[in-house]
């Protein structure tokens, strides 16, 4: 289908982009939907074509070179919001310091989407069925947000507010993501989908710090188990310090669905998703721990 008419802007830098956005949305409270950011377009373009989104102005960040790239910042990595999935997957810094991100990104859609879609676009879209929000949560990522009043940083845990809703104001841009380095940790992203290109029915991001024969610390993020990505804190507590054995991991993973409110839809009912979360969490932790 053909989108409704809109004005297309392709600013060359962030400050111009912000200027366009504040002009298009002088009063953020009233102008919701008047301006939309195109950050790869792999979610936005379908919404435009279905006419589920009908913005007046589309600001394409594809021209902002400053939003691309991955840099070593000492204790963390900075990833430009417009860095494509493809580039994240191939980046040696990501592989070395937060391999979970690369692993999960490899499962996003298909090669065509991964060449156009961006990490910032995925996170700002705040789709709980997307793979990257749960990963950002698990890895304690910080969202760098630029707006008319300057820059602010929001931890992933406070960024995802509701279904397709983030902490971004209509005149703000997600410009970068800080991801702490995780020395000594191992990871696994366990995605369960019906076809290779489908969204996850449930996904589990697991990070494990294994000390000798024990799991010293475990972090678990869940994809598509609620309106936002969620941490499986029950599992994290239950798994802290347990022996690195499958049986113990399976036992701890029974907590995976506690406190979650997974959706029921065409692809899966909520009780099945809860069950999957438990099974997949066990598998994700086991694989992360090399069991």
């Amino acid at each position: 289908m053909i989108p409704s008419t809109f004005t297309y802007e392709q600013p060359a830098d962030v400050s111009t982009a912000l200027e366009i956005m504040s002009r298009a949305a002088p009063d953020p409270q009233e102008a919701d939907g008047a301006v939309t950011v195109l950050a790869g377009g792999q979610s936005l373009v379908p919404l435009l074509r279905f006419r589920l989104a009908a913005p007046d102005v589309v600001v394409d960040l594809g021209g902002c070179a400053e939003l691309q790239g991955i840099r070593d910042m000492g204790d963390h990595l900075w990833i430009g919001a417009m860095t494509t999935h493809h580039d994240v997957i191939r980046d040696p810094l990501v592989a070395e310091h937060c391999g979970l991100l690369a692993q999960a990104t490899r499962t996003v859609a298909d090669p065509a989407v991964r060449h156009r879609g961006t990490i910032g676009g995925s996170l700002a879209h705040a789709d709980p069925a997307g793979d990257l929000p749960a990963v950002a949560l698990t890895l304690n990522a910080e969202m760098i947000i630029d707006g008319p009043d300057g820059q602010r940083e929001v931890p992933a845990g406070e960024f995802f507010l509701d279904y397709l809703t983030s902490a971004l104001e209509p005149d703000e841009l997600l410009t970068g993501i800080r991801i702490p380095k995780w020395p000594g940790w191992t990871f696994h992203y366990e995605k369960f989908n019906r076809t290779a290109q489908a969204w996850a029915l449930v996904g589990v991001a697991a990070a494990v710090q294994r000390v000798h024969g024990d799991l010293a610390e475990v972090r678990v993020g869940l994809t598509n188990m609620g309106a936002t990505p969620v941490r499986a804190r029950g599992v994290e507590q239950a798994a802290r310090g347990i022996p690195a054995q499958r049986r113990a991991v399976t036992e701890a993973s029974r907590q995976a669905s506690s406190g979650t409110e997974p959706p029921s839809d065409t692809h899966a009912q909520s009780d099945y998703r809860r069950h999957l979360a438990q099974v997949l969490t066990g598998r994700a932790i086991s694989r992360a721990a090399g069991l």
Binding site: F192, T195, A198, Y272
Partner: protein, 796 residues
């Protein structure tokens, strides 16, 4: 005069497909690529209700939008739009309601067109669509097949007084005798879920008027049928309608149709005097292109304790959807004669009840009736084997028609001309490693102790199918009340330069007719493969034809081509004799050249004869100049491809996920013209059959809304989801065909669905799971295991 070295036969040669370069690059004439000067764009406003009265439509605002040429409603078109055709009223008392291309006062499925905007560009047409106001008065939806037949059911068509469209029965042998005395009787219900055909190219129509004549370009499988039917429904004289199917990107039966949009494009072009164009969006196609399957099958089998089948009873409910389209009522009946499959039995009965619902109409989808039939018989054979404690392959051996018994008249009254089920099955078992997989299965099960400890279970599924191809002997179609014949036409023209034009009445949409017809003509005429051009898909270029569906093109169209080539050879023979200065009866045509019998030289080629026939300077007395011939062939019988497909699955019992571990297909499609094309058909067919087994289902909610309305919700398997297929063939030539070919377009789809589901049921047998409804999604598999565990727990 030169001697042409004898060319190796093209039959059986994997010639690279002539059409691939243009089809794969897209540098070709897809209908949506066509833009005649002054083309206007049409978009349709579609009903958001499954069932409602239209109480008012306000188009005022939409009409005044920039770029809008006109806005029309069903009421505006009522006087001229007629009713869309159904060519297969299967019984004399069938309920056959009117089917206006655009709804006038009532809508009966979500997606039915209620108004259209014609604008100078497609975007303007869509913008204006949003400004049309329609008032609906909701009526009760009719979604469930069994509820639709209840006495107090809401009616899809009130005037009809019933949702029962027809009842079509068939009976052969002493059915009650067979069942009454049988020691084993199994009664099962299987559901054939609705499927959405998803051809790569969406439907698209362009209609260009020229005075009182019209050229209609359509992404269709059936330009000839569209022409006849549009002439009949619109009253525009047939000779003034030319229908062209340019390159068409897939159909699978979904473009074996005369659609509302085609009829409306024609009417709009006539009304406006300008070319009009419409191309569906994928979501629009999901709602409005006809759906496939949609049946509830109650099947009973009666057998002796040694597994010999005595009888089979089949009782179908078939979802027609809201209206009868081209062959809606007949589609389930295409399987009526195939439920007995490859097996011998004493008695068989079949009954099909067509049911109206407020959903998108159903119609042919790859296999059309035969996948449903094959699924039912192959599933219940596995269940019978399980009941009797027999290996499913052994049960089949005890019942199938042996290769020495052909030709064999089945209990359903068909005569299978040839086949060798033993050979195909033996080869498949060998390639599959059947025995060692069975050993592995049993070792894993016993090692695991109880099934509950095993996270993954190995399952093995078999499907020994046959099907009927080559639609169809015209007398058979007549006896089934179909509105047309099943013949096919071909014309062959030798050009003065020795090149060849072949015209076929079949209409490819990806199959590779350019390639195969070139191979056959090259062989028959002794010319180079590269020198043959195949013309099709235009009622002016190929004026006679019955088009492409039901694996008929090579079987029926190929026979016509061979006949036309033979006639060319016979016309050429006296000219060749004249050139060779020999008596006609002494001249033979061998190895692509004419020569005097018994002498290797001198010889004359078809090209030389063609030039002589063209110049006509020195032809024998009474010979017509030019060298060409045509033939129209009515097949004497169907053809019956068969084969054995084996599938091994690993079922993750913790999540319910099914992974296909290996898949072997040994098909017998008779003589193979191009093995690469046959492999492609088999691969695609298997993928589509796996789609039904594991992924695809058109889901409607209680209000009749299509829930799986996009590809994010209606899942199609891609290459990433499928295993490598191991394919091989046995060859039992069709005895009723000059080339011995049998057809391959649907075989993979027909065979694979039961093979996969049989494998899943086999994997879950240790849990006491007997069946999983399709599509066997992870959740359904998991729930089946949970339910069986609870059941077992209660039993203990």
């Amino acid at each position: 005069m030169t001697t042409t070295p004898q060319a190796p036969s093209q039959i059986g040669h994997p010639a690279p497909r002539k059409e691939d370069a243009r089809l794969i690059t897209g540098r070709t004439r897809w209908t949506d690529n066509l833009r005649p000067a002054g083309t206007l764009h049409v978009s349709f406003l579609r009903s958001p209700h499954a069932h409602a009265r239209i109480t008012g439509i306000d188009t005022t605002t939409a009409r005044s939008q920039p770029g809008v040429v006109t806005v029309l409603t069903g009421a505006d078109l009522a006087a001229e739009q007629g009713s869309l055709p159904c060519a297969w009223p299967v019984t004399s008392d069938i309920v056959h309601p009117d089917h206006p291309p655009m709804a006038v006062d009532e809508v009966r499925y979500v997606g039915e067109a209620v108004a259209c905007v014609v604008a100078r560009d497609a975007g303007a047409a869509l913008d204006a669509l949003e400004l049309i106001d329609v008032d609906y008065e909701a009526k009760p939806p009719v979604v469930d097949l069994e509820e639709a037949l209840a006495e107090d059911a809401a009616l899809v068509h009130e005037d009809a007084g019933t949702n029962r469209c027809y009842v079509w029965p068939l009976s052969s042998g002493d059915v009650s005798g067979a069942f009454d005395s049988a020691p084993v009787v199994l009664q099962r219900r299987y559901t054939q879920q609705r499927l959405i055909p998803a051809a790569m190219e969406p439907r698209s129509v362009v209609c260009e008027p020229d005075g009182d004549s019209f050229t209609l370009y359509s992404s269709t499988q059936v330009p000839h049928i569209v022409r006849v039917m549009l002439a009949m429904t619109t009253g525009i004289p047939e000779q003034n309608i030319r229908v062209i199917a340019p390159d068409v990107g897939g159909g699978f039966g979904s473009k074996l149709q005369v659609t509302a949009e085609e009829a409306l494009a024609l009417l709009l072009a006539r009304r406006l005097g300008q070319p009009v164009k419409w191309t569906e969006t994928r979501s629009e196609g999901f709602q409005t292109t006809h759906h496939g399957r949609g049946q509830i099958q109650d099947v009973a089998i009666a057998a002796d304790t040694d597994g010999r089948i005595r009888g089979l009873k089949v009782d179908l409910l078939a979802d027609m959807g809201a209206y009868l389209m081209l062959i809606t009522p007949g589609t389930p009946l295409l399987g009526a004669l195939m439920y007995p499959g490859i097996y011998k039995m004493d008695a068989y009965s079949f009954s099909c009840t067509g049911v109206f619902t407020t959903k998108t109409p159903t119609d042919a989808y790859r296999g059309a009736g035969r996948p449903e039939a094959t699924f039912a018989i192959e599933r219940i054979m596995d269940e019978l084997a399980s009941e009797l404690g027999l290996d499913p392959v052994e049960l089949r051996r005890r019942n199938w028609i042996e290769n020495t018994e052909f030709p064999y008249e089945t209990v359903a009254g068909l005569t299978y001309d040839s086949g060798n089920y033993e050979a195909a099955t033996d080869r498949a078992l060998e390639l599959f490693g059947y025995d060692s997989l069975r050993q592995e299965q049993s070792a894993r099960r016993s090692q695991d102790g109880s099934a509950d400890d095993a996270p993954t279970q190995l399952g093995i599924g078999v499907s020994t199918y046959t099907e009927m191809c080559g639609l169809a002997p015209s007398r058979v179609l007549g006896s089934l009340s179909y509105g047309a014949g099943g013949w096919e036409h071909a014309a062959v023209r030798m050009l003065p330069t020795g090149k060849v034009e072949v015209v076929t009445g079949t209409t490819p949409h990806g199959q590779g007719h350019d390639t195969c017809w070139s191979q056959i003509a090259a062989d028959q005429l002794g010319v180079d493969y590269a020198d043959v051009r195949v013309l099709h898909g235009d009622t002016q270029v190929a004026p006679k034809g019955m088009d492409t569906y039901g694996s008929r093109s090579l079987v029926v169209g190929g026979a016509a081509l061979v006949q036309a080539c033979t006639r060319v050879v016979e016309k050429a023979r006296p000219v060749a004799a004249h050139l060779l200065e020999a008596a006609v009866e002494d001249v033979e045509f061998t190895g692509g050249a004419f020569r005097v019998r018994g002498t290797p030289e001198p010889a004359t080629t078809m090209a030389e004869v063609a030039l002589a026939a063209f110049t006509a300077h020195d032809l024998p007395e009474g010979t017509e100049p030019s060298l060409d011939a045509e033939a129209t062939v009515d097949p004497e019988n169907f053809s019956y491809p068969h084969g054995t497909h084996l599938c091994a699955v690993e079922v993750d019992t913790e999540t319910g996920r099914v992974d296909i571990r290996s898949y072997v297909a040994v098909d017998d499609v008779g003589v193979v013209v191009n093995p690469q094309i046959v492999d492609g058909q088999v691969h695609g067919g298997i993928a589509q059959g796996i789609g039904q087994a594991l992924y695809e289902e058109a889901v409607h909610d209680a209000d009749g809304n299509l829930v799986t309305s996009t590809m994010a919700d209606y899942l199609l398997p891609s290459a990433a989801d499928l295993p490598d297929f191991v394919t091989d063939r046995t060859e039992s030539p069709a005895t009723t065909h000059p080339l011995g070919v049998k057809g391959v377009g649907e075989a993979g789809t027909i065979a694979s669905t039961p093979a996969v589901v049989n494998a899943i049921a086999d994997a879950l047998a240790p849990y006491g799971v007997r069946d999983v409804p399709m599509p066997c999604t992870p959740e359904r598999v998991w729930r089946a295991i949970q339910a069986a565990r609870e059941q077992n727990g209660e039993d203990q």
